[in-house]
């Protein structure tokens, strides 16, 4: 039996927007819930973070735009995972991670966490402290885009 999951229209999320120089940046956080849809079947809904409690699923969307007349290079979007949130994957392609507070970066599979006794183990999503997208190519004038990732409220 197929269960239809419909993504309903976005309700205004917790949004932030900044513009300066020749670029603009936006950060939106949604809470994702499963609720009965208009047809009574369960539907995935993204809402503004209204009532948010431990265990809730969050979606972070970062938007950028090059509003200048020249291409921008060295574009890097960095997002420290908030303290009360556990990183939960589904990140847009091209992300690198840090598990040591932003000192070192790499693909998650290559990162290690050291225990107090010195032994190392592979890092997991729960260890991620920062996520970053570094764009190798220039962002042309007028171009825009979005990256996103998921988290869970601790």
């Amino acid at each position: 039996m197929k269960i239809w999951l419909a993504i309903l229209a976005l309700v205004a999320p917790a949004a932030a927007f900044a513009a300066g120089g020749n670029v603009s940046l936006s950060s939106d956080v949604f809470v994702e819930r499963v609720k009965p849809g208009p047809d009574g079947k369960p539907a995935v809904v993204r809402e503004a973070p209204g009532v948010v409690t431990p265990g809730d699923k969050l979606v972070f969307e970062l938007g950028y735009r090059n509003s200048g007349a020249q291409p921008a290079t060295g574009f890097a979007l960095t997002d420290p995972i908030p303290e009360s949130v556990t990183f939960a994957g589904s990140e847009s392609p091209g992300a690198t991670f840090s598990v040591d507070g932003g000192k070192s970066w790499g693909p998650l599979a290559s990162l290690k966490v050291r225990a107090a006794d010195g032994t190392a183990r592979p890092a997991t999503r729960a260890d991620v402290t920062h996520i970053r997208w570094s764009f190798a190519q220039a962002i042309p004038a007028g171009a825009s885009g979005k990256v996103s990732f998921r988290g869970v409220v601790k």
């Binding site: 917790a14 949004a15 932030a16 927007f17 900044a18 513009a19 300066g20 120089g21 020749n22 670029v23 603009s24 940046l25 936006s26 950060s27 939106d28 956080v29 503004a48 973070p49 209204g50 009532v51 948010v52 409690t53 431990p54 265990g55 972070f60 970062l62 950028y64 090059n66 200048g68 020249q70 291409p71 921008a72 290079t73 060295g74 574009f75 890097a76 979007l77 960095t78 997002d79 420290p80 908030p82 303290e83 009360s84 949130v85 556990t86 598990v99 040591d100 507070g101 000192k103 966490v113 050291r114 225990a115 107090a116 010195g118 260890d127 402290t129 962002i139 409220v153 601790k154």
Partner: protein, 348 residues
């Protein structure tokens, strides 16, 4: 270098302990994003933005019985205790209003059928959480300021009425309602969930799951059940006799002829199934059989034991004989124990 990294890794874990209750209600979650870029190969001023929202209060509580089996009681026993644990799994400190009750009829917590109400139903919070009811110190009747992920034991206490039979069951129930923690030393009002649209300040959601039939979900309260089962002492008395000697045969195959010595053994047995159903204050009296004379040289032997149907000669002197009546008081008889009163007569 490695040492520094390990300290940082450990610190990263310690900085945000993940309690089961989760992030404290009222905490602001802030997401900061930074954009670095260059134009014409020249690094530009980084751009930052941040947005924030508030973590709301999620009310979760559990009430469980600490008694693995029914609490065995005797008729007339007072201040018998069933023990429960109330846990605050919410992400905020709360008070808890507590109410004991006695469900009528139906299947009790440990399988028996409830058929009586005990007397003097009351409850007390375990002030030092040691699981032992101490009436001098455990006097609070509600839980005050219970922190997130903390728990407290609660005692439901009753007196058992007289006149109950072995197997009678009294069921009890403890209900806990989440209440605002407001001021220490007084019970706050019951928590009310936020209705309507979300606000920018802290809202409240009921998220506890009912775990027993009749225990509704999402109503800010939970209950658990306990029970008491009566085990009364079950005494039975038997009287046996044996011929000890006669003047002709002495102790070899003695016959019941005048002058024979006959020993009477009165055995009191407590067939109770529960170890705390001890019979006390046992007074035995026996009229001397007709045509016999009390043998005072032997006297009355109390608290002897039995081996099968044979009375052992291990009683100690006691009791009294007057006006044709042999009397003696036996010591307490525990469950499964038999004690005897033994005396002798001569056949007239």
């Amino acid at each position: 270098m490695l040492a520094t990294a390990s300290v940082l890794a450990a610190a990263a874990f310690a900085a945000s302990p993940a309690a089961a209750a989760g992030t404290a209600a009222g905490t602001t979650i802030t997401n900061n994003v930074t954009l670095d870029y260059k134009v014409g190969g020249v690094a530009q001023t980084a751009l930052t933005t941040s947005d924030a929202f508030t973590v709301d209060r999620k009310i979760v509580l559990t009430v469980v019985s600490n008694d693995g089996s029914t609490v065995s009681v005797t008729p007339g026993q007072t201040s018998v205790v069933t023990t429960f644990t109330v846990t605050n799994a919410s992400n905020a400190t709360l008070d808890f209003a507590l109410t004991p009750s006695q469900p009528a009829g139906g299947t009790a917590a440990h399988g028996g059928t409830d058929n009586f109400n005990a007397n003097n139903l009351r409850l007390y919070v375990d002030s030092n959480n040691n699981g032992v009811f101490d009436s001098a110190t455990d006097t609070a009747t509600y839980i005050d300021q219970l922190g997130a992920d903390d728990s407290r034991k609660v005692f439901v206490v009753v007196d058992v009425p007289l006149g109950r039979s072995t197997g009678d069951v009294a069921a009890v129930k403890l209900n806990a309602v989440a209440a605002e923690a407001t001021a220490a030393g007084s019970l706050g009002n019951a928590v009310v969930p936020s209705t309507g649209a979300n606000t920018n300040s802290m809202d409240t959601v009921f998220a506890e799951s009912g775990n027993l039939s009749g225990n509704l979900q999402y109503d800010g309260q939970e209950f658990a059940l306990g029970d008491y089962t009566v085990s009364a002492a079950a005494l039975s008395v038997s009287k046996t006799s044996r011929i000890v000697s006669d003047p002709v045969n002495n102790t070899t195959n003695p016959k019941m002829i005048p002058g024979a010595v006959v020993e009477y053994c009165i055995a009191v047995a407590n067939a109770a199934g529960s170890s705390n159903a001890i019979a006390t204050n046992i007074a035995v009296t026996d009229n001397l059989p007709a045509e016999t004379t009390y043998l005072s040289a032997f006297g009355i032997k109390l608290n002897g034991t039995v081996a099968g149907s044979t009375c052992n000669p291990d009683g100690t002197a006691g009791g009294s004989f007057a006006n044709g009546i042999v009397s003696g008081s036996l010591a307490d008889i525990g469950a499964g124990v038999t004690k005897t009163l033994v005396f002798r007569v001569t056949v007239n």
